[in-house]
């Protein structure tokens, strides 16, 4: 139909990377919780949504005080959203997971779904069900390509998304690899009971996992909140589903897997829209998931699970 246009391809690649990076940020929360307690936190999408709302509250609040310097707004929104989301993440673990730990694995799963419905409706009642919008904070960008052909735009916002994602991921990887708490996390992931016997406060480690996952979801919430400028109480569901898919695709339980899965999912979606049809975006993305799981049941970077007794 159309000749291959490298600038168009580059544009779609950038679009895919942008959305993929944020999938990856949310996916971390799923993968960390799974890695440590072997359960899926279904309320995680809602935590992302709360992060986005918190960012909106912080941004409009700062605007009311006349703060216009972008780095201050960004960092302020980030800190506020991370604080609120982490608190909610911690509370979810305390309310929906800890009291049920040790029982049937399905029970906390259901209580997490309940938590998800509760949080969604809680936000809906307090913030209203209609879309909330904030003005653009960061506009403009770089343009490449000939003036008469297709021009690729790389917006400053996209750059901010990439940089923040890379920095957050890097910091987390370093933290898990080097710090005392990180070592405890890895120990608990390997064998919860043994770690407990060796004097690791596993409850604290598990709480910490939920908090870190929630904080990264809040980072994604702030970034996407600024990128799209719109939110509503229902966004957590689709975002959570996509991020969960990314985590499974990359190999649930594996941090680099979540990142890789997010990026692959984002790029697949963008490319399907670009060279095929937008309505097949999800069909192709989920088809890919099924294919990969057929050949690698543990995901791309996942390790075969040894049944813990």
């Amino acid at each position: 139909m159309l000749a291959f246009d490298p600038f168009y391809f580059a544009q779609q690649l950038l679009n895919g990377l942008t959305i993929g990076s944020t999938y990856a940020l949310i996916a971390i929360g799923y993968t960390m919780v799974y890695g440590i307690i072997g359960m899926i936190n279904f309320a995680h999408g809602e935590i992302y949504m709360i992060g986005m709302y918190s960012a909106f509250v912080a941004i409009t609040g700062m605007a009311a005080f006349g703060i216009e310097f972008l780095p201050v707004i960004f960092v302020g929104a980030l800190l506020f959203a991370m604080l609120i989301s982490s608190t909610v993440g911690w509370a979810v673990e305390r309310v929906a997971y800890r009291p049920l730990r040790g029982g049937n694995r399905l029970i906390p799963l259901i209580s997490a779904i309940g938590m998800s419905i509760f949080l969604q409706n809680y936000v809906r009642l307090f913030q209203g069900s209609s879309d909330v919008a904030i003005p653009h904070l960061l506009s403009g960008g770089y343009t490449f390509g000939a003036a008469d052909g297709f021009q690729t735009t790389l917006s400053y916002m996209q750059i901010l998304i990439f940089v923040t994602t890379i920095v957050s991921m890097g910091a987390l990887t370093l933290f898990i690899a080097k710090s005392r708490m990180g070592r405890a996390c890895r120990a608990v992931a390997e064998d919860l009971k043994m770690a407990n016997l060796l004097g690791i406060d596993t409850n604290r480690v598990i709480s910490f996992t939920f908090v870190i996952g929630a904080a990264l979801a809040a980072v994604a919430g702030v970034l996407l909140g600024m990128y799209y400028g719109v939110t509503n109480p229902y966004i957590g569901f689709i975002a959570g589903l996509k991020a969960f898919t990314a985590a499974v695709l990359g190999g649930i339980g594996s941090l680099p897997g979540a990142m890789l899965g997010g990026i692959i999912l984002g790029i697949t979606e963008a490319m399907t829209s670009a060279y095929f049809a937008t309505e097949y975006k999800d069909v192709v993305a989920f088809g890919l998931l099924v294919l990969i799981l057929l050949f690698r049941p543990t995901g791309i970077l996942g390790k075969p699970e040894v049944e813990k007794i």
Partner: protein
């Protein structure tokens, strides 16, 4: 034998009691269910329906009610969810309500109307524009709004005769309403020799439309028609502006809402929208418009007057026939004309309005609109 007698007696007495109960509730109040999204992403449209219908109920009651009885509005929330709409329909049946103004979303009206038709409940939707709703030969189902199949051609003819774009993209949200209207626009555009280069569906609830925007930009699209609701179109407009994609956009009445401007901001300026005629601007409705404004309500919403009209049609029919028997009422409504804020309206055999036309408006960034010459 004795047992059977006892049972018969029991059932007779129960039915007498039930009849008594219905007779009592119907003696002084006639309940009208207002069914639509009170919550959910399109709740704004539900608000339009509620304020329009409630105003009609209030004014009719103030003017002495219907043959001495008063009307009562019962608000029911379907959240624009087909499953919940059926639950609402069942609730209407359970509570013995015989009149429904609603539902709003076509995808909700469709399944709910099956229940109403079966149970002999009179339903008038002030907002659902899907042609399929009145294609089933139902007799209890009416609407005080036009059809997608009218709205689409109105839009497409305007595009073909006035805008004359070179390459058109038609997008939709893959839902009954959005895809229906988008298909009809595409069909009419092609009949008029306009080049439709893209026809694609996005997913309702998605937030990122950068891929499809880049694709339209690549294809050199200069006009985009979107079939769907405002949350998605608002984001498409906003992201198009950011990505330097400056085609003219157009949408159906599902996007014509002040929230569109809140989402898209400056990018909503100049959008073309097909809407039911601005009944609030009719000189005959001056006092009614003031009554809305006195309550702090906005009479300019697309479904406010159509909802008012739906209640008025029911009330007038009950008044004229002196009965709440919906079978007689539907016959009366099919064969008579009603004076409403929409003007004099009458219905076709299938329950659609006779001679309803959509108007075209230019939307502004502040949420206001100005009519465009067709």
């Amino acid at each position: 034998m004795k047992k059977t007698f006892a049972r018969t007696l029991l059932s007779v007495s129960t039915s007498v009691m039930l009849m008594g109960a219905t007779a009592i509730t119907h003696a002084d109040t006639i309940q009208i269910a207002i069914a639509g999204p009170v919550t959910g992403p399109v709740a704004q449209y539900g608000d339009m329906q509620v304020i329009g219908a409630k105003m009609a109920v209030e004014q009719i009651n103030k003017a002495g009610g219907v043959n001495g009885d008063t009307l009562e509005a019962v608000i029911m929330d379907d959240a624009c969810d087909p499953k919940q709409a059926v639950a609402v329909a069942n609730k209407v049946v359970n509570e013995g309500i015989s009149f429904v103004v609603g539902h709003l979303c076509s995808s909700s009206t469709q399944p709910a109307s099956d229940v109403y038709e079966d149970e002999g409940i009179l339903m008038i939707t002030p907002a659902s524009t899907s042609p399929a709703i009145t294609e089933r030969g139902y007799k209890m189902i009416f609407r005080t709004i036009g059809l997608d199949s009218d709205q689409g051609p109105t839009a497409a003819k305007y595009i073909a005769s006035k805008v004359k774009p070179k390459k058109v993209a038609v997008l939709h949200d893959k839902q009954q309403y959005g895809e229906g209207i988008a298909s009809s626009v595409k069909k009419t555009l092609e009949e008029n020799g306009i080049n439709v280069v893209m026809f694609e569906g996005i997913t309702a609830g998605d937030k990122d439309f950068s891929a499809i925007i880049a694709k339209m930009k690549q294809a050199g699209v200069d006009f985009v028609y979107y079939g769907g609701y405002h949350p998605e179109l608002g984001l498409i407009l906003r992201q198009s502006r950011q990505k330097g994609f400056n085609a003219q956009f157009m949408g159906p009445e599902g996007v014509g809402n002040k929230d569109l401007s809140a989402i898209a901001g400056e990018a909503s300026e100049g959008l073309l929208v097909t809407l039911p005629p601005a009944f609030d601007l009719r000189p005959e409705n001056k006092s009614l418009v003031e009554a809305f404004k006195a309550k702090g309500e906005d009479p300019s919403g697309a479904f406010v007057m159509t909802s008012y009209a739906a209640v008025k049609v029911m009330a007038d029919a009950i008044k004229a026939t002196g009965t709440t028997d919906t079978e007689k009422l539907q016959q009366y409504i099919h064969t008579h004309s009603f004076n409403t804020p929409m003007g004099d309206i009458s219905f076709k055999e299938n329950g659609d309005l006779k001679g309803f036309e959509f108007d075209i408006y230019t939307w502004h960034a502040d949420g206001s609109k100005t009519p465009v010459q067709k």
